[in-house]
C-alpha cells in the first residue's frame, strides 16, 4: 500500500510491517469496509494516525469520512478490516469503553445540549470521575470565552462558541486521541482559524488528533499528514503540501 506508507513519519524508515513499528501508530485502520443496510460506503480504507500528530481526512460530501470516524470510535461495526489502537486490535470494543480510556470523538453537529447552560453542559461530563470545578477549570483555561457565558443556554451561543463548548466537553475527558468531525461546519473563516489555533494548542500538549474537513483551507495549516477520501477509498495520502495540488482534482471528480 503506497498510500499507507505515505502517511507514516518520514523519519521512521520502517514500513508498516508486522511488529514493533505499530506502537508508533496510536490509531490504524486496515482494509476497513463498512455498510449501512447492505449498501457499501467504505471499500477498504487504510489510514494511520501516528503518535502525537494531527491527521486531516478530507473529501467531498458523502465520501464516507464520518463513517470512517465512527468505525474508529467503535460506533459503527465494520464489515471487514481491522481497527488498531496503540497496536491492539479493538474490533468490537464498546464505544463507551474506548471513550472512558481516552478516545474522544466530537461529532458533526457538535453533540451539545442546546437547552442547558454552558455550566450544565459541562456538568454532564462529571461522569468521567472529575468534579465540576475541575472540569470548569480545564474548560475555561482553554476557552476563556466560555467562562463569561457559563450561565447562557448553549443553544444561544454563537456557532463558534458552541464548537468551543463541544471541544471543552471533550477535553474534560483528558483524551489521548481526539477525533473531530467538521469543526468548521457553518462557521466564518475567522472563527475557524481561531478554532484551529486551539486544536494546534491541544496537539502540542501531546494529544493525537484525527480531524475531518470537507474544505481543506485551514486544517492543512495544522495537520502533519493528510489523506483525501473519495467514494469510500483513500485516494491520496501524504504531507499537506504534497496534497494541495491533488485536492481540487478530488473535488472536481478528476
Amino acid at each position: 500500500m503506497s498510500n499507507l506508507s505515505a502517511v507514516e513519519p518520514p523519519d521512521n524508515p520502517a514500513r508498516s510491517n508486522e511488529t514493533g513499528h505499530q506502537d508508533h501508530n496510536l490509531l490504524e485502520l486496515r482494509g476497513i469496509r463498512a455498510a449501512y443496510e447492505r449498501i457499501d460506503v467504505l471499500f477498504g480504507v487504510d489510514l494511520v494516525v501516528p503518535e502525537a500528530s494531527v491527521v486531516a481526512l478530507l473529501g467531498p460530501n458523502g465520501a464516507g469520512k464520518t463513517t470512517t470516524l465512527r468505525v474508529a470510535a467503535g460506533l459503527h461495526v465494520p464489515s471487514a478490516g481491522d481497527v488498531l489502537i496503540a497496536g491492539r486490535r479493538v474490533n468490537g470494543a464498546k464505544p463507551e469503553e474506548l471513550a472512558r480510556h481516552g478516545l474522544c470523538m466530537i461529532p458533526e453537529g457538535r453533540g451539545i445540549f442546546p437547552n442547558l447552560t454552558v455550566r450544565e453542559n459541562l456538568r454532564m461530563m462529571t461522569y468521567v470521575g472529575r468534579s465540576l470545578a475541575e472540569i470548569e477549570e480545564i474548560a475555561y483555561s482553554r476557552f476563556p470565552r466560555l467562562a463569561e457565558r457559563r450561565t447562557q443556554t448553549a443553544g444561544t451561543l454563537s456557532g463558534g462558541e458552541q464548537q468551543m463548548l463541544a471541544m471543552a466537553r471533550g477535553m474534560a475527558t483528558e483524551p489521548a486521541l481526539l477525533i473531530l468531525d467538521e469543526l468548521s461546519m457553518g462557521l466564518a473563516p475567522i472563527i475557524v482559524a481561531e478554532l484551529y489555533e486551539m486544536v494546534a494548542q491541544v496537539a502540542r500538549s501531546g494529544v493525537s488528533i484525527l480531524v475531518v474537513e470537507q474544505f481543506a483551507s485551514t486544517v492543512l495549516g495544522v495537520a502533519d499528514y493528510a489523506a483525501i477520501m473519495v467514494h469510500g477509498r483513500i485516494e491520496r495520502a501524504g504531507r499537506p503540501d504534497e496534497l494541495a495540488a491533488d485536492l481540487s482534482k478530488a473535488y472536481l471528480g478528476g
Binding site: 496510536l26 502525537a52 497496536g87 479493538v90 474490533n91 470494543a93 469503553e97 481516552g102 489521548a176 494529544v207
Partner: protein, 116 residues
Amino acid sequence: MIEGQERVQQFKQEIAEMRVRDPATGRDRMWLRVGVVLMIAGLIVAGLAYPMSHGTTNPLSQNDALALGLGGLTGAVVGSALFVRYSVAGFLRFWLARLSYEQQAQTDRLIESLKK
C-alpha cells in the same frame, strides 16, 4: 511535554488491558441458534413420522417411523434446553450487572449520608 507523554502511555496501557468483547459471546449466539434450529427440526421430524407410520402396514417401516419420531422428540427437547440455557444466561448476566450496580449506588448513598 512529559505530562502528555504520561497520558499517552496510560492510554496505551489501558487499551492493552481492555476487555474486548470476546468471540465467546458469538459462540453463545451460535448455540442459541443451534437450539432454535433443533427445536424446529425435531418437531418437523416428529410430525413427519406420523404419516410415514400411518401410510404402511409393514411393522418394520412402522418401527422405523417410531424411532424417527422419538429421535425428533429428543432433538426438540435438547434444542429447548440449549435455547433456555443460552437465552437465560444472557438475561441473568444483565440482571446481575444491574443488581451489583444498584448495590453500589446504595452504598454510595449510605456513605454520603454518613459523612454529614
